[in-house]
């Protein structure tokens, strides 16, 4: 059994930022375990720009953004394993890694979960119809096109307006494919508005809100899909069905934090985020096991992933010093208008960044933090959208002495 101070599972955006931040905090004994054959994770297939505006104040491509961290990892000589899959994780923070050298056992003082997320599939959302080839999730299509140089089809319908789907609409158009339409089940887009403008409208790709795919045809390769308009209650509006001839259906219908290892380690998960329930420093229900990035909650901007990773490392450092002490635990209660909040609980009253997603789009909203009837903080939000995460910091002075904490959107 090899001992490590910190083991980071996942060498993508979150894992790399966490590793660099650990080193900066003076933590020496770190190991990053990555299942793929390169560091950087999904960023490496995101060859479009727009990354790093917040973190580096410049627009970078995904690989460039990743490289900034990879360079630091190499410069700081932080050890990492590639092509190595963690096959087991225990509440005692023991890790079993499989790679071509064998099975290796590690024990760490701190585990940082940074496994990212996976894409929701056709099966999970139950699109009826035939099962031909030509149905791809947007991220897989992105990997195949950008990293493997394969073209996945010529006439494409996209279901779901998640950001990867929007990015792929542009990408496929630039590669000469015809993106016929993007259908979104909800009455609003689930992607960032800048992506709707730059990836769809700039290329005259129609976005059909309140539309979904109700049938798929094709015996070998996909030969068409039927889309239909949905009414207010989600039912199909009679007479709205329309068949579209195409050879590819691309799905961008949501991301699911990949917490199979967390589950194995007995970590308590949040039903809504799909990630672990954490305290204000990203510590899960298993002491010394932390989570950051898309494994904790699905982010819309990678800069926030890096910031979140750096932020939880504060807690990691304190934990290693024996100073991450549970003062008084309170649950963060969720009021109207909000889908979720991270962290789900507070164990101290130190400065805390809260992340939220709202239930539906709105304008001129106020986020209210309350201790019982007493308002602790109010934050005005000019425009809110479920696609865009809201992050708000409360200082220790604002949190001091509170007995309860409830957040709602009014």
């Amino acid at each position: 059994m090899k001992e490590r101070e910190v083991i980071i599972i996942g060498g993508g955006a979150a894992g790399l930022a966490a590793a660099v931040a650990c080193k900066q905090k003076g933590i020496e004994d770190i190991l990053i375990i990555e299942r793929g054959d390169y560091l950087g994770g999904i960023l490496q297939q995101c060859i479009h720009d727009g990354f790093g505006l917040e973190k580096f104040h410049t627009s970078l491509s995904g690989p460039e953004y990743a490289q900034r961290y990879i360079d630091q990892v190499k410069e700081k000589e932080i050890p990492f394993l590639l092509n190595s899959m963690v096959v087991n994780l225990t509440p005692q923070k023991e890790v079993v890694v499989a790679n071509s050298n064998g099975l290796q056992h590690y024990r760490a003082k701190v585990i940082i979960l940074a496994m990212g997320c996976r894409e929701r599939t056709r099966g999970a959302i139950g699109i009826p119809g035939a099962r031909p080839s030509g149905i791809y999730t947007a991220g897989v299509a992105q990997e195949l096109i950008n990293l493997k140089n394969y073209m996945i089809g010529n006439k494409i319908v996209i279901l779901g307006s998640g950001d990867i789907g929007l990015i792929m609409a542009r990408r496929l158009t630039l590669e000469g494919a015809e993106v016929i339409t993007v259908a979104e089940k909800l009455p609003y887009s689930s992607g960032l508005s800048r992506n709707i403008n730059q990836c769809l409208y700039d290329f005259d790709i129609p976005l059909l809100l309140s539309h979904t795919v109700v049938d798929i045809e094709g015996n070998g390769r996909l030969s068409g899909v039927t889309i239909a308009q949905l009414g207010k209650r989600g039912g199909i509006i009679p007479g709205s069905k329309r068949k579209i001839t195409c050879d590819t259906l691309l799905l961008s219908v949501g991301l699911i934090p990949e917490n199979e290892l967390s589950r194995e380690a007995g970590i308590v998960l949040d039903n809504i985020t799909g990630g672990p329930q954490v305290d204000e420093r990203g510590q899960t229900s298993v002491p010394g096991t932390f989570a950051c990035g898309n494994v904790l909650q699905v982010h819309d901007i990678v800069d926030n992933v890096s910031l979140e990773a750096e932020y939880i490392v504060e807690g990691v450092a304190r934990y290693l010093e024996g100073k991450l002490i549970k003062e008084q635990e309170i649950k963060v209660e969720l009021g109207e208008g909000l889908r979720y909040v991270v962290p789900q609980k507070l164990i101290s009253r130190k400065d805390t960044i809260f992340s939220f997603r709202v239930n539906q789009p709105g304008e001129k909203k106020i986020l209210v933090f309350e201790d019982g009837k007493k308002v602790i903080k109010k934050k005005s939000l000019r425009r809110v959208n479920p696609a865009e995460m809201v992050r708000v910091k409360l200082s220790s002075s604002e949190l001091e002495g509170i007995k309860r904490l409830k957040v709602r959107l009014v």
Binding site: R35, N83, M85, V87, A98, N99, S100, N101, G102, L103, R118, E119, T121, R122, G123, A124, G126, P128, G129, A130, R131, P132, S133, G134, T137, G139, V140, E143, L144, I145, L147, K148, N149, Y150, M151, I152, G153, N154, E175, V214, D215, I216, N219, G220, R221, D247, E260, R263
Partner: protein, 494 residues
């Protein structure tokens, strides 16, 4: 590809579980055998799209072939799976009554089962049901300890591979188009891949067995396709049940009702529905049925959540009973009255899987009576499957990686399938290279991410280690291509 002088003693049309079982059974004798399969792999028709249940045999009317062969098959199934290295679990089944009047039906089933010589049947009360299945709602149940589960595709593949080892020739992508009886009384089978001649033809074409029979004897049979749709649940939900959970069958329907089947890989299947359809190849799922399945599931297992669903699929029953009549007709396993040496297998629906081996034995008996076949002393009943890394203990895993580092590379994260297993799956003796063939053999792409992580890696293995061209990467045979070309023309020119 041989195009002429393809003569065999026996040509089997259809490489489903029954066709492959017959091929293996016949290979115990000195005889030349060819299996013609129209798809890119064996078992893609009915055989890989069912609940994977080795039924005990109490559901079938006493005295029928279905009852007799199912019971016989059930009793020898463990041995068959042992020989073929196919996972088999005798987990037992409970048929759950939710209303008082259904208890009478349970008693009838028990009596029928006992008459069919099914062992161990017991009526249990709600307390005992609660003990066996704490999460299932019901007032009483019939418990059948002899019911087992297997992987229907692994069994079909294993039967085929073992038959191949014992000298049977398999012709994939080979569809019989017409059959002529020649002057020397041989058959000439015209296919898309040329002609075959044979002394015997065995029609095990499943859904198309009426069409194949029609090639020699007009309008004798008719097969009505009857579709069943299923949901597949995530392994995380496997704790919910311990046994196969069935409702009390409703008289007159041609199915066993929506049931819950734990699979050998620890998923749970919900289904199937029961719906006559027009086209035999329409494997679509439909929103109406999917809604119905969810509602039925809730009745028995309120704990199941839609979040647990990772996939849906459908299979099609080859029914002789017309839609106007419903219910079941018995299996037809017989030599044609008018065409010598032409053996028909018609209407092999459930329990066709459990009965596959006894059906094969019957077919061999028919031939043996006429030919006095001599035993093939070289017959080897054993076949080795692909070793599943995930299921090994720690020490074995370590030893395996040491012996072959490809065992250390996990390609499919959800099912923990290693590169070694993928390589073996691609290297399969039948030569099937479709992604579905790799999936059935290795379980890669079968998990909750449905290939999101491993698809690209498997494609790279096919390209780099097996030299497949981009055009040769197919989901399930010809015309199910994955790629329209290279992204950049520049690369295309290279």
């Amino acid at each position: 590809m041989k195009t002429t002088n393809n003569h065999y003693d026996v040509v089997i049309i259809g490489g489903g579980v029954v066709g492959c079982a017959i091929a293996r059974e016949l290979s115990k004798y000195k005889t030349s055998i060819a299996v013609l399969e129209k798809e890119d792999d064996v078992g893609w028709g009915i055989s890989c799209r069912n609940s994977g249940v080795v039924h005990a045999g109490f559901n079938y009317k006493s005295g029928t072939l279905r009852a007799q062969l199912c019971v016989e098959g059930n009793k020898s199934f463990a041995k068959l799976c042992h020989e073929l290295d196919v996972p088999y679990k005798k987990i037992g089944k409970v048929i759950v009554a939710q209303k008082k009047e259904e208890i009478r039906e349970l008693k009838k089933l028990k009596t029928q089962g006992e008459k069919n010589k099914v062992g161990g049947l017991q009526i249990i009360d709600s307390a005992e049901l609660k003990r066996l299945e704490p999460n299932v709602k019901g007032i009483a149940a019939l418990y059948s300890p002899e019911t087992a589960i297997i992987s229907p595709y692994l069994l079909t593949i294993a039967l085929a591979e073992n038959a191949l080892t014992n000298g049977v020739s398999f012709f994939l992508n080979t569809e019989a188009k017409s059959i002529a009886k020649l002057r020397n009384s041989d058959f000439r089978i015209n296919t898309n891949k040329g002609e075959f001649t044979s002394s015997y033809v065995i029609n095990s074409a499943g859904l198309y067995s009426d069409k194949v029979a029609h090639m020699v004897e007009k309008d004798k049979y008719r097969i009505y396709p009857c579709r069943g749709e299923y949901y597949v649940l995530d392994k995380n939900a496997s704790w919910i049940i311990n046994h196969l959970i069935y409702p009390v069958p409703k008289a007159g329907t041609g199915g066993l009702g929506v049931h819950f089947t734990p699979t050998i890989d620890k998923n749970i299947l919900i289904g199937p529905s029961n719906e006559y359809i027009k086209q035999k190849d329409n494997l679509s799922t439909t929103s109406q049925i999917m809604k119905m399945l969810s509602a039925e599931a809730q009745k028995f297992l309120p704990l199941i959540s839609s979040r647990d669903i990772i996939r849906s699929y459908s299979g099609i029953r080859a029914k002789q009973a017309p839609p106007s009549e419903g219910g079941y007709w018995d299996f037809v396993i017989e030599e044609s009255n008018s065409v010598n040496n032409f053996i028909n297998l018609i209407g092999i629906e459930s329990p066709g899987l459990a009965s596959a081996q006894p059906i094969a034995k019957r077919v061999v008996e028919i031939i043996n009576k006429k030919e006095k076949l001599s035993l093939n002393s070289n017959f080897n009943p054993f076949r080795k499957g692909i070793l599943r890394f995930e299921e090994q203990d720690e020490e074995t895993k370590k030893a395996l990686i040491k012996q072959d580092p490809d065992y250390g590379e996990i390609i499919c994260r959800c099912e923990q399938v290693t590169k070694k297993e993928i390589l073996e799956a691609i290297n399969n003796p039948l030569g099937a290279k479709s992604l579905i063939s790799i999936k059935y053999r290795s379980r890669a792409m079968m998990g909750r991410c449905q290939g999101g992580y491993c698809l690209t890696r498997i494609i790279e293995i096919l390209r780099n280690e097996f030299g497949l061209t981009l055009q040769e990467i197919n989901l399930k045979g010809d015309n199910s291509y994955l790629f329209s070309g290279y992204r950049s023309d520049e690369v295309n020119k290279l």
